[in-house]
Amino acid sequence: MAAILEAKGLSKRYHGFTLHDISLEIPAGSVFGVFGPTGAGKTTLMKLLARQIPASGGTVRVFGLGYEEREKEIKNRIGYVPQEPSFYLERSVEYNARFAASFYERWDGGAFYRMLDEFKVGREKAFKRLSRGQKTLFSLALALSHGADLLILDEPTAGLDVILRRMILERLRVFAAKEEKTVIVASHITDGLEDIAEYVNFLDNGKLVYQAEKDELLARWKRIHYKEGALPPDVVAQLTDVRRLPFSSSGLVRDFAALRAALEPGIARGEVKVENARLDDVLIAMHQGD
């Protein structure tokens, strides 16, 4: 699979925060998730990938093109959904849409207004009067209405109720299902995006600390609950995020396949239980591991 976006050594220096040396290869047709705690630099990274801010160092190439020479062409094919929507607040939804539409080569007004109707976003309303969810839905409709091949979203479901969240996730799922369409999304885990992400990347403190295919990650990481004493010490030493409770202990296994043999006896005796790790467990383990 060709990479639809390649970042090499991307960095951004701010007064109190730095994004270091980010290198990514995002396969075309994938749903690429970037997760991390607040302040990790997710928004900065999304803005750099969509060239909403200039980078301090490194390069980004999208569709094999560089922003320096082909910014207009690239942005025609990218839909960016910001966390903080920034449109002409005093003007109506319709005005903002028409304004944006005039720049795109492949604007599909029909699709856009159908989406607005489905999302129940009124056309005549002043933009500033929209609720947070409606603003996000507007941004999403805009991003989906000009034939974009790549969507870059920054925490699209943050602060939204479950129904809106489901609506957005469904839209993204349908979009990404087409082979040539790619989605890059930054989010907190527990915002639901982890369900549709195919690749998970953990950003912490401005650095990419982990990159994996989600299915593979969930196969390798498990949480085990065990009776104190049921596991040999060398196995316990390999666990992370160990918690000792009065009636059970638990820990995260980083590579289940490797430890399986050592765990089998305990499992057979009913003194060890294995369950799937949750992505936020893994993220926290990464975070504490530094």
Binding site: P54, P82, E90, E105
Partner: protein, 211 residues
């Protein structure tokens, strides 16, 4: 791109409308020409204010999402400023011609007008750079300060006394009355060159800015 032009030009147009009202009134009252005398000095004030208002309602974050380069945005805004600087020059020239067309002070007033437009042009270019380099709040403070100073100065500067047969006392050469076109073209060319230079700087600054 023309969407940017349309949106930004609203404030320039409305400013121009307010600009022409007093002199239109003055023309109707031939006895009182005092306001017309200082019209030229107001051009930089009006143009600077247009830039400020236009910048305040702009959303570059929105524009950055759209397929339009910083280069194009800068060129559009600079083009708009240039266009209106010329419009102000034409408008004021017409008023001056109507009021003093056949008098010896005509050359002087025209010289003043061209100088004011040249200054307004370069200043406006500077304001755009300030906006993109330092942000809206700095721009607002700076332009407000300038506007206040500009309006106050028209009280203190006695234009009528300074404008005499040849040109403007202390600023323009005496031979202006005989070869006015040379002066106008030279000043316009110099202003245009400076303006173009500012535009090049502005493109570099806008590309690096996050505003």
């Amino acid at each position: 791109m023309s969407a940017i032009l349309r949106k930004s030009s609203f404030f320039y147009i409305s400013h121009l409308c307010t600009f022409v009202l007093p002199p239109l009134y003055m023309l109707a009252e031939p006895r009182n020409r005092s306001v017309l005398a200082v019209m030229a000095l107001w051009i930089p004030v009006w143009l600077s204010s247009s830039v400020l208002w236009s910048e305040r309602q702009e959303s570059y974050t929105f524009l950055r999402m759209l397929p339009v380069t910083d280069r194009r945005i800068v060129r559009t805004k600079f083009g708009l400023v240039l266009g209106f600087a010329i419009v102000y020059w034409l408008v004021v020239s017409l008023f001056i011609r109507a009021a003093w067309g056949s008098t010896p002070q005509y050359a002087g007033y025209m010289a003043l007008t061209t100088l004011a437009c040249a200054a307004a042009l370069v200043l406006a270019g500077g304001w755009l750079i300030v906006s993109w380099r330092f942000g809206q709040s700095v721009l607002t403070a700076a332009v407000m300060a300038f506007v206040v100073t500009g309006i106050l100065s028209t009280w203190f500067v006695d234009v009528k006394r300074r404008v005499r047969g040849g040109g403007i006392w202390g600023i323009t050469p005496d031979w202006l009355a005989e070869a006015p076109w040379f002066y106008h073209v030279l000043l316009f060319a110099a202003a245009l060159a400076a303006f173009y230079g500012l535009m090049r700087i502005a493109i570099r600054i806008k590309t690096r800015s996050e505003a």
